[in-house]
């Protein structure tokens, strides 16, 4: 049973298919890089896997269960375009809140731990609206990892991160992979993503143009996949 299984998924906006017959899998402990041009359907696919929207046709299973089941939601971590933390609350209050929502045994303790792991322990009581951009990004990462999810879905996580935040995220992702967690990550930042990825999938206009293991050619030349399998190939 794979960690993430997408079978014959079609997603329509009205009568327009944004995703057409997508089938892919991500085994446990692997990192799948989802690449494609803007509008190819990466965000749509990720949000469908995360359970934010339902596919009209096909099945999505996370560790064999449906995305919206409570058990699945407990083991899923999602980073979208927004930081998903509250400006009016402090860093500690934010993480404690999500700790409680995820049913952690000691939300405050976990919150403090993750503040340290993302280098935010000194501003734990500061309100998020006063944070710099990089600090906000690191808090978003802390929120996503807080409940130790076994499957992480990341939508263009490296975009607009400062260097320190990128380093923190890469370190955390590497540790997660080493611990056997699964990652599905959509990205434009091919270099950072391909360093971590074990597998690559290319989306082109809602269809899967390529899905397979990452090869050395891809690492050497990030544009390789586009050239070989993308439009104009």
């Amino acid at each position: 049973m794979s960690a993430v299984a997408v079978e014959g998924v079609w997603k329509y906006y009205g009568d327009y298919p944004a995703l057409r017959d997508i089938s892919l899998e991500a085994a446990e402990g692997t990192c799948l890089a989802l690449i494609g041009r803007n509008g190819a359907g990466k965000t749509t696919l990720l949000r469908a896997i995360a359970g934010f929207s339902t596919a009209q046709r096909g099945k999505i299973r996370i560790c064999g269960k449906e995305p919206r089941e409570a058990e699945t939601r407990s083991r899923l971590g999602f980073i979208g375009h927004g930081i998903s933390v509250y400006d009016e609350l402090s860093a500690l209050e934010n993480l404690t809140l999500f700790g409680k929502l995820y049913g952690l045994a000691d939300p405050k303790k976990s919150a403090n731990e993750w503040l340290e792991r993302t280098g935010l322990e000194r501003v734990r009581n500061g309100l998020v609206r006063e944070f710099s951009r990089g600090m906000r990004q690191r808090l978003a990462v802390a929120r996503a990892f807080l409940h130790e999810p076994s499957v992480m879905l990341l939508d263009e996580p490296f975009t607009a991160l400062d260097d320190r935040a990128i380093a923190v995220l890469q370190r955390l992702l590497r540790e997660a992979l080493a611990a056997g967690k699964t990652i599905v990550m959509s990205t434009h930042q091919l270099k950072e993503a391909l360093e971590l990825a074990s597998h690559v999938a290319l989306l082109n206009r809602g269809q899967l143009a390529f899905h397979g293991a990452r090869t050395q050619e891809m690492v050497d030349d990030p544009g390789y996949v586009y050239a070989r399998y993308g439009e104009g190939a």
């Binding site: 906006y13 009205g14 009568d15």
Partner: protein, 176 residues
């Protein structure tokens, strides 16, 4: 005659509201857009009928009592019913994405149908003391009006289906 028209149009509009509610529930169950188009067509038909009925009721009231608005319980209920369903159309206009639009509209339709009997009751308690309602036998008018309403709904439904097909073509064409 007008009073009969008013009465019949209210009953027919009620049928339209019920059709819309059932179609909305069916849409939420099956996600088939045919039901969404049916709910929209039925609601529009109902609104037209109710509006015509309110005008007829007001004219009838004027003929009888010299006032344009007699605060008759049934005409007032009809007006509130109109105000209840008009936002359904406004809401649809405010949502671009078809699935979201259909689902949201369906929710509103379901809330509205639960509210209709409560509104009728409330307005009746409020206003029934003022003027005894004139009893009118309008049953002969209901069937023709219902057929007319069904006809409108059918035409509108076909129109909606054609629009959806065109919409899908347009979105597909935009890729190229």
């Amino acid at each position: 005659m007008l009073a009969s028209l008013f009465d019949a149009s209210v009953w027919t509009a009620l049928i339209a509201a019920a059709v819309a509610a059932v179609a909305s529930i069916l849409f939420l169950r099956t996600r088939n857009f045919l039901y969404d188009s049916l709910a929209l067509s039925a609601t529009e038909t109902g609104l037209v009928l109710i509006a015509a009925g309110i005008v007829a009721g007001a004219i009838a009231g004027h003929a009888g009592a010299g006032l344009w608005w007699t605060w008759d319980a049934r005409v007032t209920t009809a007006l509130v019913g109109f105000l209840l369903y008009a936002p359904y159309l406004m809401l649809r206009g405010a949502i671009e994405e078809p699935t979201r639009r259909a689902a949201s509209a369906a929710v509103v339709s379901i809330f509205a149908i639960f509210d209709l009997p409560v509104i009728a009751l409330a307005v009746n308690w409020w206003l029934a003391r003022r003027a005894a309602p004139v009893s009118v036998d309008a049953s002969w008018m209901i069937l023709p009006l219902a057929l007319l309403g069904a006809g409108f709904t059918w035409i509108r439904l076909r129109q909606e289906q054609r629009r959806r097909a065109r919409d899908a073509e347009r979105r597909t064409a935009q890729e190229i």
